[in-house]
């Protein structure tokens, strides 16, 4: 029982970060971005390239991987999803098609072989008789830090409050002179940043493979969509708030 509890807490925080990023994008930009976890896969592959193929320092590789994958993610939003974002069904279709496109690109470059990236901290610790790899602790710590940062950002900063306002009523926000498009872009950057950082801390625990984006997407949808279907039909702030509640209950 103890092992299930410990591993669930660690994995729960990672999924919490992914779900928060996803719901932030939905709440602020009104986009159900099904390509979201494909950037999780891309970050892991970029990390693999920089670290295992180019043999750069692991921290440099991590920063580069987060940067490049986030750039691809934001560029996808800016040039593919934003122009069609008023057509919700089309956005869903195009975003999932983008995810498959990225998967196919990875398959054609790296094939279907499994890859490995090195851990930031190797070894394991015994906690209440349960062996937990050190990388799990790092993933847990980074996830908690991200969740707290987002909470502080959304509740204390002017931009964060503006994002919440945007998710509540876009028209009023526009009337108030707030650049709603810019805020959506910021929310997208944060969301994509969350998914790429999660990937970097989690991928050394697992194996890197072209289909690694599918399972997290299912989990994220389970938390955000299936858990609170009515949110999608109502408003984005509801999505953010209810996901936050789901995340806390998950924790």
């Amino acid at each position: 029982m103890m092992q299930v509890l410990i591993i669930s807490i660690v994995l729960g925080t990672v999924y919490a970060v992914l779900a928060l990023g996803f719901s932030l994008i939905w709440g602020a930009a009104r986009i159900v971005n099904l390509a979201y976890t494909s950037f999780y896969m891309l970050a892991a592959y970029f990390f693999y390239v920089f670290c295992s193929l180019v043999h750069l320092n692991i921290f440099v590789s991590a920063i580069l991987a987060i940067g490049v994958a986030s750039f691809v993610g934001v560029a996808t939003y800016k040039f593919v999803l934003e122009p069609i974002r008023s057509h919700e069904t089309v956005v869903i279709l195009i975003s999932i098609a983008s995810a498959f496109f990225f998967e196919e690109c990875i398959l054609s470059i790296f094939g279907s072989d499994f890859r490995r990236v090195p851990p930031f901290i190797s070894g394991y610790q015994e906690l209440f008789g349960v062996r937990v790899v050190n990388q799990h602790f790092l993933a847990f710590g980074v996830s908690i830090a991200l969740i707290l940062s987002l909470w502080l950002f959304l509740s204390r900063s002017r931009v964060g409050i503006a994002i919440r306002a945007t998710s509540q009523d876009r028209e009023i926000v526009n009337v108030m002179g707030i650049n709603e498009k810019k805020l959506s872009l910021i929310a997208m950057c944060i969301g994509i940043g969350f998914v790429t950082i999660s990937s970097i801390v989690v991928s050394p625990i697992y194996v890197v493979e072209p289909l690694m984006w599918v399972h997290p997407l299912i989990m994220v949808l389970a938390i955000v969509v299936l858990g609170e279907c009515d949110c999608l039909a109502s408003d984005g702030d509801c999505a953010i708030e209810k996901t936050r509640r789901n995340v806390w209950s998950l924790l």
Binding site: F114, R115, V132, V207, M212
Partner: protein, 426 residues
């Protein structure tokens, strides 16, 4: 006008009976497999080596004329979609004379019907469900075009169990444990159910105690909870039976957490060299069942192993038995003197071929599974490989099993941390 001409050409092609009636200039073999996955890629690799060797030697002799073999890639996408697989075979059926390949039994059952409809010989190289060949016994005239180059899951169960018996004996001898405990870790998939049940019921007969069965998803990305639970159960042996991506994660996390239990059994993904890289070397001392290893199963095994390794920087997968399949087809075609399926089937049934993967003989008509690969001492046994240092594998089973021990095989080694843990515990 153009439509008319095209229609006329098409009609005359169909009237002539398509490819079958064309003057044969080459033997066209469709290599059917999920080409974006490891299995399809390795189907192709095995067949392409055979094609290269045969064509270099002049090709297939048919009616006194030598002609080359041409391989056609048939991407079935069978791991993701049965319907994709069926469509792929349907589309290729008029373009090839024979099929080799396929890995996922659920898809193979559907593809088999299409191939049989076109009376195309389908040499299965990876799908192991018994039903595929049981169909030949039930309706010989319809399904006689099916042959299999791998042992069925029934015999795979026997291999795994015989290997488990060997490991249990070593655990008893080296660690002084009278009744070793076994934990089963298998895919949550239907194919693994009979194996789990067999181990649960038969293990006590070998002086083993089964402490439980853990069944994570075949695509699980983290099995540390299961491994921790197995450690808590005080098992000395983990019997794995996994076909999905979980195999790599399991090998990696088992070694990383230094779980004090020997990891034995079968993990499809652990048969290729990339398993070593994917686990970061943590898969050392784990074992897996496969069709070939670096031991002298026949005179052809080591040369093929080396060629494959040199050409692809990888170990031959069990599905790369397409290499032997192409040779078996070639010999049957030459004996029949034609590519006519019915005549080639008659010659395929007489096959006694010493291939890279061992001796290839098919069970005869009248058997419960006609055209299935014959298993047993003196025939095909398959092997169990163990990962050793620097990413090398050695054959550790059969090791004096019913008098069978291949040159180059070695005795199974327990992971040192497992031995240390249990010795300290005593």
């Amino acid at each position: 006008m153009i439509v008319g001409v095209v229609s006329l050409c098409l009609l005359s092609f169909l009237a002539s009976g398509g490819l079958a009636q064309q003057a044969v200039k080459e033997v066209r073999i469709g290599v059917a497999g999920p080409m974006k996955a490891v299995f399809g890629r390795d189907h192709w690799r095995g067949a392409s080596i055979a094609q290269e060797e045969i064509n270099k030697a002049g090709g297939v002799t048919l009616g006194g004329v030598k002609m080359p073999i041409k391989l056609i890639k048939v991407d079935t996408n069978e791991l993701a979609s049965v319907s994709d697989a069926v469509v792929a075979v349907e589309r290729a059926a008029n373009d090839v004379h024979f099929f080799v390949g396929t890995q996922r039994s659920e898809s193979a059952l559907a593809m088999q019907d299409v191939a049989m409809k076109y009376k195309k010989i389908f040499v299965l190289c990876g799908a192991v469900h018994p039903e595929l060949l049981a169909r030949v016994a039930k309706d010989y005239d319809k399904y006689k075009y099916t042959f299999r180059m791998t042992i069925s899951s029934i015999f795979q169960g026997q291999v795994l169990f015989a290997h488990l018996e060997d490991v249990a004996k070593i655990v008893k001898e080296q660690m002084g444990i009278a009744k070793p405990k076994v934990a089963i870790l298998a895919d949550k998939l239907m194919w693994a159910d009979p194996i789990v049940k067999a181990v649960e019921t038969k293990a006590p007969g070998l002086g083993l105690e089964v402490v439980g069965a853990w069944r994570p998803s075949a695509t699980a990305s983290d099995v540390t909870a299961e491994l921790s639970a197995i450690k808590a159960s005080e098992a000395q042996i983990i019997f794995q039976s996994v076909s999905g991506t979980m195999g790599s994660v399991l090998g990696k996390q088992w070694g990383e957490l230094k779980i004090p239990a020997a990891l034995v059994g079968g993990a499809a993904i652990a048969t290729v060299k990339t398993f070593w890289d994917a686990t970061g070397g943590y898969g050392i001392y784990s074992t897996t069942m496969t069709g070939i290893g670096p031991a002298k199963l026949t005179e052809k095994t080591i040369p093929f192993w080396n060629t494959y390794l040199k050409e692809f920087d990888d170990f031959p997968n069990y599905v790369s038995v397409t290499y032997d399949a192409v040779y078996v087809l070639k010999e049957a075609i030459e004996r029949a003197g034609t590519i006519d399926s019915d005549k080639v089937v008659a010659e395929m049934e007489k096959t006694d071929h010493k291939g890279a993967y061992g001796r290839i003989v098919f069970y005869p008509r009248g058997h419960d599974f006609p055209h299935d690969l014959r298993f047993g001492p003196g025939y095909n046994t398959w092997v169990v490989n163990q990962w050793r240092g620097s990413g090398k594998v050695v054959v550790v089973w059969p090791y004096e099993w019913q008098g069978v021990k291949y040159e180059g095989s070695e005795k199974y080694l327990l992971p040192p941390w497992v031995v240390d843990y249990w010795k300290k515990k005593k």
